[in-house]
């Protein structure tokens, strides 16, 4: 973009939209000719962490019977402790607000330490049944560790691991791949849906409480994103139910959509807003479909078909309005 950047800034100046000082400042900065590898190197770090931890995971799985368990456990334990030692030594300790580390590696070391801890606990359970038949505990303990790490070291990635762990403890999976592929089967399992919705509500309540005591308020978006997807998907998949209970789920969806409408304005979070609209739109369509299901369509289906484009034009107009309002609000 080089040749045009200069020219555009010059144009802005020519139109008297930026001052001469600003122009000079921008020119000075551009003459530094900065080519930042910040994103690329951080990405390399996170990929290397991912590769290393999964490599270790598979290594342990494959050799679970051949190498001595004690040796394996010891190595894992030493690496984990080393990582944690380094992290604790170099972190500034617990803080209620957002903290930035001096070293860019710390974030990734926390991640490694955390993942290795989870592998360690899993290994203990499968080999020695430390938790006996309390399989829930084997999930809960890594979750608690993750929550601790997330809050202590202020690490968002570890927080997402912790939340997925919490969901796994309840009995469903909220990793992006699984929740969108509908692997959880909320439809076949009503009690799971109730607990999923409860979890979503709890996450929301926790964010409200965090705001009150001002504890890591920048985590709010992570919690709310999970809550939105969990509640919406659980209630939408239950709206196909034959029993009358589907109306209850429709109401839940309506309530959550209203809440997220409000909160996304408050946080100026467009990702929440857009997904809220999409889920609400799906919900409305299913609702209409369920209502019309009982109507006699033989006579009027041609008319119905003709009305479809008008329906879509109507929805597009509505969407444009919604997005416009939101962008206006954000710009303020």
């Amino acid at each position: 973009m080089t040749q045009f950047d200069e020219q555009l800034t010059q144009d802005l100046f020519a139109k008297k939209m930026i001052t001469e000082n600003q122009l000079q400042e921008i020119k000075n900065y551009r003459s530094l000719n900065i080519f930042s590898l910040n994103v690329e190197l951080k990405l390399l770090l996170s990929i290397s962490v991912l590769m290393f931890t999964s490599g270790v995971g598979i290594l342990i799985y494959d050799n679970i019977d051949s190498i001595g368990h004690i040796a394996l456990l010891a190595i894992l334990f030493v690496i984990t402790c080393g990582c944690f030692y380094y992290c604790f030594k170099n972190s500034q300790g617990f803080q209620k607000t957002e903290t930035k580390f001096e070293s860019p590696f710390l974030e990734y070391l926390v991640l490694i330490a955390n993942v290795l801890t989870c592998i360690f606990i899993g290994y203990l359970q499968v080999q020695y049944e430390v938790f006996g038949t309390h399989y829930g505990l084997a999930t809960l303990v890594p979750t608690i560790v993750s929550f601790f790490c997330a809050y202590y070291f202020d690490n968002r990635s570890v927080l997402t691991i912790a939340i997925t762990g919490l969901a796994a403890y309840i009995g469903f999976s909220v990793t992006p791949q699984e929740i969108f592929q509908g692997n959880n089967d909320f439809y076949a399992n009503p009690s799971l849906s109730y607990s999923a919705i409860m979890l979503g509500v709890l996450l929301i309540l926790w964010t409200v409480y965090s705001f009150k005591i001002e504890l890591k308020t920048h985590f709010t978006l992570v919690y709310l994103t999970f809550a939105l997807h969990i509640i919406s998907i659980a209630s939408i998949s239950n709206m196909y139910r034959d029993e009358l209970i589907w109306i209850l789920f429709a109401l839940i969806l309506a309530g959550s959509s209203y809440y997220f409408y409000k909160i996304s304005y408050e946080l100026k979070a467009i990702s929440l807003y857009v997904f809220m609209i999409i889920y609400a739109y799906i919900g409305i369509n299913i609702f209409l479909f369920r209502i019309f299901e009982h109507a006699d369509f033989d006579e009027i289906w041609v008319l119905f078909f003709m009305l479809l484009p008008i329906y879509f034009i109507g929805s597009i107009v509505m969407f444009i309005k919604l997005i416009k309002n939101f962008n206006k609000e954000i710009a303020k």
Binding site: M1, Q3, F4, D5, L8, L12, K15, M17, Q22, I26, Y29, L32, N33, I34, F35, S36, L37, N38, L41, L43, L44, L45, S48, V49, L50, M51, F52, T53, S54, G55, G57, I58, L59, Y61, P104, Y108, L111, V115, C118, Y135, A138, T139, P142, S157, I161, T164, A167, A168, S173, V174, P176, I270, I278, F305, P309, Y311, F312, I313, F319, A331
Partner: protein
């Protein structure tokens, strides 16, 4: 030929510049607001999620209009009129697409999502119309590729639609591919070299064009075509691609101990080109090329591992992870305190807008894997297995 007002296009570029200057902290928010107010522009959706949503809605609208038209066309039809309608249906849909795209463009919709739906619909229906009129369902799709390439180029030139250029690039590659395929065995044999020369030549052509470009609204399209050439150049003589294609097209049966002709050339090409890209990208400070070189390096590793299992997967992962961590560590230590040129400090101007989004997206998807590896495994313990632990399709 361009439907959009050129003043507005220039204004759009100015507004985007103001946006990036604002996020870099050079100008104030109020200033940006004034700039936005003073320069009339298009209805643009910059948020990819919103744009995707509008694209979906636009596609619904387009297909529902087409559905209504088909129903009117088929009411009370005989089998003759049915066939007649079928033969012209794609042309009607094409007309609807053009009408929609024109109308949206006249109403200053640009990069909005709605226009994407109609413009891509034009290309799709042009291809469909060609298929139906020539009834060439079983031939090699050379004609189809030509039609799509021409249409997408015209569509780009009318609406300045970036995605059409991607379609154009893919379709032109298909024209080249099927053209050589039609020639016969000679064409199939020289295919890698022909594609290599073609993409190399086109790369330098577009590069020169970018240098002498005066209209800013064509810039992105040329950059896209330029990057496409880079990717195509690497893939054209990649060992894996060449070997699998020659097995497919020439039905060469490669027995153990044998290799394809010129194997050493392809091996060398596969290994050298990514490194070349990487060096060139860092030398010329070309970020897109840098990312392409990352992709190429990954594909080279995949190519080698596809034929030779140098190390078992888990050892390769562990060691690879350690090596990559080491490389990143050393590079960061080296670049940490540099203030100009190549550095680790985030770029004020270009960091925040495009690449921060890309970073969050990529990190989010990589992290999406982690819970699967991890939190699933404790769940699986209930069954007494460790099968979720890492092997579960995360690669």
């Amino acid at each position: 030929m361009i439907v959009h007002d050129k003043n507005l296009l220039n204004n759009l570029a100015l507004i985007e510049e103001a946006d990036s200057l604002e996020s870099a902290g050079f100008i104030s928010k109020e200033q940006k607001k004034i700039i936005k107010k003073e320069l009339p522009s298009f209805k643009v959706q910059n948020n990819i999620l919103v744009r995707l949503g509008f694209f979906l809605l636009g596609s619904f609208l387009y297909s529902s209009i087409c559905g209504t038209v088909s129903m009117i066309g088929l009411i009370g039809s005989t089998s003759f009129s049915e066939r007649f309608f079928f033969s012209i249906s794609c042309f009607i849909f094409l007309g609807i697409g053009i009408a929609g795209a024109e109308m949206l463009a006249k109403n200053k919709y640009y990069r909005h999502g709605l226009d994407d739906a109609f413009i891509l619909g034009i290309i799709l229906n042009a291809g469909g119309a060609y298929m139906i009129t020539t009834e060439s369902y079983n031939d090699t799709p050379l004609g189809l590729a030509i039609v799509v390439a021409v249409t997408s180029f015209l569509v780009y030139y009318r609406y300045l639609h970036l995605m059409s250029i991607l379609v154009f690039c893919l379709a032109s590659t298909a024209v080249l591919f099927f053209g050589l395929y039609e020639i016969g065995d000679i064409g199939k044999t020289i295919m890698p070299f022909a594609v290599m020369l073609f993409s190399g030549g086109f790369y330098f052509f577009t590069k020169k064009k970018i240098k002498n470009l005066t209209e800013i609204y064509h810039y992105n399209a040329f950059v896209l075509a330029n990057s496409f050439c880079l990717v195509l150049f690497y893939l054209s003589c990649n060992y894996l691609v060449v070997r699998e294609l020659s097995a497919e097209l020439l039905s060469v049966d490669i027995k153990p101990g044998q290799d394809i002709p010129f194997a050493y050339f392809f091996y060398a090409f596969t290994c050298i080109v990514p490194v070349l890209y990487l060096v060139q990208a860092i030398r010329t400070k070309d970020r897109i090329m840098l990312w392409i070189s990352f992709g190429a390096i990954a594909f080279t590793v995949f190519t080698i591992r596809f034929y030779y299992s140098v190390l078992p997967a888990e050892a390769a992962l562990t060691i690879g992870g350690l090596v990559m961590f080491g490389i990143a560590y050393v590079s960061i230590q080296k670049l940490k305190n540099k203030e100009s040129g190549l550095t680790f400090k985030p770029d004020r101007i270009h960091h925040s807008n495009t690449f921060l989004n890309a970073e969050t997206l990529i990190v989010a998807s990589t992290l999406g894997l982690k819970p699967e590896i991890k939190t699933n495994s404790p769940m699986e313990f209930g069954d007494g297995g460790f099968s979720g632990g890492g092997s579960g399709g995360s690669y």
